[in-house]
Symmetry: C4
Subunit: 194 residues, 4 copies
């Protein structure tokens, strides 16, 4: 399979999963104006999830530019990764429904999904990069090593934020938002050679 078709399929799942998130946004009870204002946890959950999928989409491209060929194991790791990405509307809905009540279970489930996503994403990369198994011959080893180095802190950040949500749902959600913003800013400042 050419990587192009794999990228198109992955992009499709990213776009659909991100766009389906809106089906989980609901007005709160009460008057229309009141219900719209008090739906803020839905908006926050929507924005964090959409942005996170957007960041993955942007980075997915950088990663795939280094890949020269794919094998079936790689394809199925990618299917598992997409399974977690496509799962994200569910914890987003749970977070939106339970954030006002401060449910730590809801915030933990949300973080767990994104930690799992980071782990699958890392697994996808390291399977391809180990011994340059699927890396394109003309890919620059410094870029390959740079991508490898960037995966560990990403997973660790999500894991820590997830654990912190057991202390406080709001702390966890604030950290999820901070991680997303960190990636947007860091990537905009230092990653201009798209």
């Amino acid at each position: 399979m050419e990587t192009a078709r794999l990228e198109t399929f992955s992009d499709g799942v990213f776009a659909i999963a991100a766009t389906l998130l809106i089906l989980e946004v609901h007005r709160a009870h009460g008057s229309v104006a009141h219900g719209l204002v008090h739906a803020w946890p839905s908006y926050a959950a929507y924005a964090i999830s959409f942005l996170t999928i957007g960041i993955i989409w942007v980075n997915h491209h950088t990663v795939f530019r280094q890949i020269g060929r794919v094998d079936r194991t790689f394809l199925f790791i990618n299917v598992a990764f997409l399974m977690v990405v496509a799962f994200s509307p569910f914890p987003t809905r749970v977070l939106a429904e339970t954030l006002r009540g401060g449910s730590r279970a809801g915030a933990f489930a949300y973080g767990l999904t994104f930690t799992l996503m980071a782990a699958c994403y890392g697994g996808l990369w390291f399977y391809a990069a180990a011994g340059r198994r699927l890396i394109s011959p003309d890919a620059d080893q410094r870029i390959v090593s740079g991508i490898s180095r960037s995966f560990l802190p990403g997973s660790a950040m999500y894991g820590l934020a997830t654990l912190s949500s057991l202390l406080s749902a709001y702390l966890g959600v604030a950290l999820y938002a901070a991680i997303a913003l960190f990636y947007v800013i860091e990537s905009s400042l230092f990653g201009r050679s798209v």
Copy 2:
């Protein structure tokens, strides 16, 4: 990233968001015939939103033809823009549910979303066009300037229509529909060189 993949992804979000709008259309209570007829606010909200996304899709292409390359800041402004586009089924549902009651809050939230969409779209363009930062070398400066000039009245029209919905929900919705029709007619008459 080639602009082609960015366009494909954006087109995907446009298509999905527009097609998801139908999930927000529901029959009104009563007999089947009565419920179908009295669901007219759902149909109106569906048509205005679908048409508006369709106009954005048509114009998005004209805009992207001027873009020669992208950087990460541009990618993330585009993600923010798509986040607002993908959000539109929610205010569409709110508008459909509340229009018969004349809820100004529902009409205002609807307009606010489209004003925000216009603002993000403008931000996307002016980031690329400022000093021809991302403009293709062979793009005609008159077309670039023409696109720049067209953004201001667009955002102003949406802003004014949104404010007018605070006076009357029906006035606001009539203006949203008028803006969409204006773009279709103006674009068909004067913008034939697609």
Copy 3:
């Protein structure tokens, strides 16, 4: 705009609208086995709608192969056409919910949507074909004329089936199914040069 991007966008709406139809399929009340069996109107509505969109998708390609260029009026007629295609999950749900009760209003609304779809599709074609306005210079006039001739009976068939649903919902639905099967069989037998 190249017709390729227009086709991709249209294909996306076809695929999404057809796939969303399943969200309108629900079990009937009672035990699981009973509820699955008695959901047959949902299955019938799903199958007819999916097949109809599938037929449109297959034919859309034949039509677009004759098109050499597009203008903005054509783009907006296509947006209107896609608006009706994307609308189809709603009457499909209404039909599924009301067919067991024999609701003629539900069957009529369903047929009306597909008649409107045929009308928009015809409008799209005749706008392009009139005086060969947008027809590719190397398109065979016999094929162009053949497509033009095929539109009239199609719209008439849908219109008559829709009117017949006012006599009996079941008659109408039987005719909608018959039209879809007619197209599949006719097209398979006589239209092999895809």
Copy 4:
């Protein structure tokens, strides 16, 4: 029609159907933590369905690489196949809702859908492969014969698992999961030349 457009459309339906599955996942009643844990039948049904569609997607590509041209009959068999693929979120929801109660009807309906999917997929292939009707001239006959041989056991496995669900819902679901895992492992070990 070029096979490329057919593949893109099919990939779109695969991606949308797989991503829509998440809309069928719901928390169980009770506290947030309890409801998340006891939703395990939803997670299991989601994972099996997503993985199965993922396997079909991977294999669909291998199959289509052998296809040199398409005719309308082939297109409509593909539409029927996609109709079954797009149907899968419905039995997935039924399975998730009824698995904890051990409903054999729910597990049977689930298996029936996947058996039908395998049958349509086989029909698609054998229509193309019979007398090499649509097979590309440069396709290796050993690969073509190998694909033909692989269809029969696949359909038989799904059929047997479906029948076994009439004895026990859990047995059936365990077999559906085992089939999916079998394909992933077998394909990763022996099918590396993607």
